[in-house]
Each structure stands twice: as structure tokens, then as C-alpha cells.
Amino acid sequence: MKVAVCIKQVPAKDAPLQITDSGAWIRETDIGFEMNEPDSFALEEALRLKEKHGGEVVALSMGPQRTKQVIKEALAKGADRGIHLEDDKFFLLDPLSSAKSIAAALKKDNFDLILTGLQSDDQGFGQTGVLLAELLGLAHATIIMQIELQGQRLKLKRELESGWFQWVELPLPAVLTIQSGINKVRYASLKGIMAAKKKEIAVIMRESLGIAGEPTQRVERIYVPQKAKRTEFIDGSPKEAAAKLLEKLRHEARVL
């Protein structure tokens, strides 16, 4: 089975975010980046499918030079080769334009299965997987918690809201978006890291994909949100703060 995994590189979870003066994006200097967490679960699922059924895992990422790091990480964990849509023109595209670029890059490989995380931890559009399916003419299912391969069909456990799940079946080839927590993600071994150095990463520029089309939406500015509530901050030593908080909960909010 030939599986592609779409992986995004996002600012590290604990990175202090500072918005640029123009409000267009965050300051990228001095912060760390990491593999988007939902995508790391998708990668793990792809590697497990390969271990069980054979085939190939291809790790794709889109973004500036720094993005190559997450492809290398995927190769170190066991992906066979990488595709890097490395072009400043791929940076901060709207969801449809992003998906059109990725779809064009994936098209000629005829993958049996394309996996993505359910959303990214930075922009959080949560659309890429579904858009890829539509653009490539494939069946899809989202927020997947279990994958069973049954010949040329997949049996999938979809997560719904409020603790509900549903089994669905669909034919290959297909696109799935993977829910966090579907598996336990592996670490790269030293051997894997060494082996990754010999693996191929194909670099693709936007012009070569022949994509036309204007963006459908524009992020005008990002900013620190206005508070929905006025928060009363309590300070002091842990002991003082604890005492003050309990006092307020008992006599002000009257909930204790």
C-alpha cells in the first residue's frame, strides 16, 4: 500500500507568540518549531499500516526551508521518502490554495491512501484533508480513531461529538484525517536517524505545479483576542494565593 502523509510544521506548543507590527503573522525569529501534533499521529498510523501490509510511506510538507526538519523527522521514524513543497509562495496560503498545491504534488504518484492530521495547531483551518479528497476525486472520512484494511476497502471508526462514534466503510484510494490519540507515537531511533540521511526529499516549486487561481480569503490581521470576561488575577505566594482564592470562592462567588 502506497501511503502519503501530509505534515505541517507549526510553532512549538510552549513558544511565546509575538504578533508582528503589521499583524500579518507572528515573529518567527527566536521561536522553536515542531511537527503539528495531529499530523504526528497520522504519520504513526501510516508507518503502522506499512509494517502490517507492506508498501511505502511518503512524507509531504509545505512551507519555507525550516519545514524540511519535519520531513527529516518523518524519514527518521521510518517514512521512505519525502516531498517538500519549498517555496515562499506556499507560505500562508488560504486553505483551498494550499490544498490545490498539495493535490497537484500528490496527483502523479497515485497513492492508495492519503493521511493528514485533523487540523493544524497554528492556523487551525481543519480543511486540508477534505479539500484534497474533493480535488483528487477520492472518497474521504474525517476524525478517524481506527483503520482496518479489508482488501480494497477500509473499515473506519469515526469520532462524532459527545462521546459517539460511527463505523463507516469506503473504497480505496481514499483520504483520511486522523484524530489525535489514535495511537502512541514512536520516537525516532538512532539507526533511523542515520538511515534518514540517505533518503530522498524531492523539492517542488509552485510554478512547476501549474496552479492557477486566486486566493478565496485573506487573513487581514491577527491579534490578541479581547477577553470575554474580566479575570480577577490573584497574586502572592502559593499559600497566600490559595487562601485568597478559597476566600473569594466562599464569600464572593459563593460556590464553595
Binding site: 487551525g124 483551518f125 477534505v130 476524525i143 463507516v168 489525535s180
Partner: protein, 327 residues
């Protein structure tokens, strides 16, 4: 401006978030001259639900029915709704940001080569345009987003962004228009099977008056008992954000958020929870929210009534000791 609202039902029961989206549509319509709000209901044997919608202040109700729409499939819903859109020619298509909408709406929009601004929390009507507000970086920042190019424009609104009980009722009943839906079995690639719930719920957190919830900040499973003890002293139950349950540190039935339970206790104490949107939608209705987090910019503080910026491993013992003393 013609606004189409796609409501959501399953087995004849409303998903209440659809009414919040209807309220959003009514409010947006009030800012644009000559606006018409048209809600649609999609499924099989859902005329009764269309009748309910017709009592609201809307121009008309679209009834999108077909045998093949009895159970949700992304192919079936996208094809049928494309036909409804072709007939109505709306400028703006509003949807509740449910798991189901996430599954088909981007596909529906892309099939028309249109974009979708998903998971919005609000809007601002400005001169000749509407700015949609959504969150980024798990709620740490907000973003103003606008459409480029010709309509229709697709927008989904997060649960809780509008109040469903503020829906305006109509003076007269709106007409119901049945859409001629052309759908063939071979167009639907997904086979939906049974719906089920995982193992029985051991605890019903929705009934607990006090919840003490832990997030990633608890760091390791061996630290959970610290929070459990505090919960017990406060007379509450222990709850968690999704990553804690994913790790198996607490069972899934203690998970609060969009994929877990929605709760509104009188007191919600969030320990080391950053406050990602998916968690906040499950607890923001709580009467009093207390957040303790080492990151003063954590989005959880946006919904907190009381906040302490500090180390939970100092504050949990301090609270525990203080409570033990007063017992």
C-alpha cells in the same frame, strides 16, 4: 444579501448548534439591506422539522429530502446541497461548525471552487463587507478574515458563538420549498454503519456541581492523585482535557470538550489547562471558572473569573492544605 443556513439533524432530532447559526444569519441579515434568511433542513422524512423552522423569522425554508439522505454521507450531502445552492443562488452560506460540517462543507465549497472560513466565533459588518473573526494558535490569537472574489461564501460558526434562544420568531409562517434532489446510489462511496458509544459512562460529569480539571500541565500520570485529592476535598469530581485521556491517564468519560462532555458546573477549576477551543466549548458555560496556569497568556484566562499565574505543583498542595485546615 441572500443567506442560506444549513441546519443539522440526526434521526429527526435537532443539533441545537444549528439554531445558533440561524441567529447569526438573522443578525447578519439585520445589518444588510434587503437581506433574506433561508434555513435548509436535509435528510429523509424531515418535513416536520422544516415546519418547525418555518415558524421563525425567515424568508422561506428549503426542504432537501431523499431516501439516500437518511444517513449522513459526505458524498450524498455535498451533492444534494449543491443542488439546493444552485436553486437558491445564495451569497452567504452559514453552517454550524460541527464534526459533520467539518466532514462535508469544505468539499461542498471546493466543488464550486469557493472558499470557506471555518470555525468563526463572530463577525463585524463593515461598509460593503463582512469581516469574520476566528481563532488561531488554539485560541491564543484571533484573526480577522475576509472573502476575496465572487460569492457564494461559506462560513461555519463555532458552538456557543451565538445564543440559540435568541432566534427571532416570524409574524407569519414562512413557505417551505422542496428542492428537487437528484441522487443515485453509485454516487455515494461511503457506507455508514452503526453509531455507538464506547463503554458505559462510569461518571456523569454533567451532574457534578464542582469539577477539578487537569490538562497537559499535570505532566505525568503519577501527579493525577494530587488533583484527585483536591477534587475530593472540594466535594467535586475530577475531569480532564483531551490529551490526558488520549494518554490514558484518565478514562475517556472524564474528558471535557467538543469530543467529550459539555458541562456547566457552579465551579470549574482548570489546572494546567491551556484552554484550546476544543476544551473551552465544553466548559465555558460554567458559573465560576478558576484557572491556574504558569503561562499568563494561556487562553483559558479569557474565560476565567479568577486566575492565578503560577505553578500548579505549588498551588495544588497549598489549596489542599488550606482546605484540610478548614475541614
Amino acid at each position: 444579501m441572500k443567506i442560506l443556513v444549513i441546519t443539522e439533524q440526526r434521526e429527526g432530532k435537532w443539533n441545537p448548534v444549528g439554531f445558533e447559526t440561524l441567529v447569526a444569519a438573522q443578525q447578519i441579515a439585520a445589518t444588510q439591506t434587503g437581506s433574506r434568511v433561508t434555513p435548509a433542513v436535509i435528510g429523509k422524512d424531515v418535513r416536520g422539522l422544516a415546519e418547525e423552522l418555518a415558524a421563525n423569522q425567515v424568508a422561506e425554508v428549503l426542504l432537501v429530502e431523499h431516501d439516500l439522505l437518511k444517513r449522513y454521507t459526505p458524498d450524498g450531502f455535498a451533492i444534494a446541497l449543491r443542488q439546493a445552492i444552485a436553486q437558491l443562488q445564495p451569497d452567504l452560506i452559514l453552517l454550524p461548525h460541527t464534526y459533520q460540517v467539518r466532514d462535508y462543507a469544505p468539499k461542498l465549497a471546493a466543488s464550486l471552487d469557493k472558499g470557506m472560513i471555518a470555525d468563526c466565533v463572530g463577525y463585524r459588518a463593515e461598509k460593503e463587507r463582512i469581516v469574520f473573526v476566528r481563532q488561531m494558535f488554539q485560541g491564543k490569537t484571533a484573526a480577522d478574515v475576509t472573502f476575496i472574489g465572487a460569492p457564494p461564501w461559506f462560513v461555519s460558526f463555532q458552538a456557543g458563538a451565538f445564543r440559540g434562544d435568541q432566534v427571532s420568531r416570524g409574524a407569519t409562517r414562512a413557505p417551505i420549498t422542496a428542492i428537487k434532489t437528484d441522487l443515485r446510489p453509485e454516487q455515494i462511496r461511503t457506507t455508514p454503519l452503526e453509531l455507538f458509544r464506547e463503554a458505559k459512562q462510569a461518571v456523569d460529569l454533567t451532574q457534578a456541581p464542582i469539577l477539578v480539571a487537569v490538562g497537559r500541565g499535570i505532566k505525568a500520570p503519577e501527579n493525577i492523585p494530587l488533583a484527585a485529592k483536591l477534587a475530593k476535598l472540594m466535594g467535586g469530581e475530577l475531569a480532564a482535557s483531551r490529551p490526558i485521556c488520549d494518554e490514558g491517564w484518565l478514562p475517556m468519560d472524564r474528558q471535557i470538550g467538543s469530543s467529550g462532555q459539555t458541562v456547566a458546573p457552579k465551579l470549574y477549576l482548570a489546572l494546567g489547562i491551556s484552554g484550546a477551543i476544543q476544551h473551552v466549548v465544553g466548559m465555558k458555560g460554567s458559573r465560576t471558572i478558576v484557572a491556574i496556569n504558569k503561562d499568563q497568556n494561556a487562553p483559558i484566562f479569557e474565560v476565567a473569573d479568577y486566575g492565578i499565574v503560577g505553578d500548579i505543583f505549588e498551588l495544588i498542595p497549598a489549596l489542599t492544605e488550606a482546605l484540610e485546615k478548614t475541614k
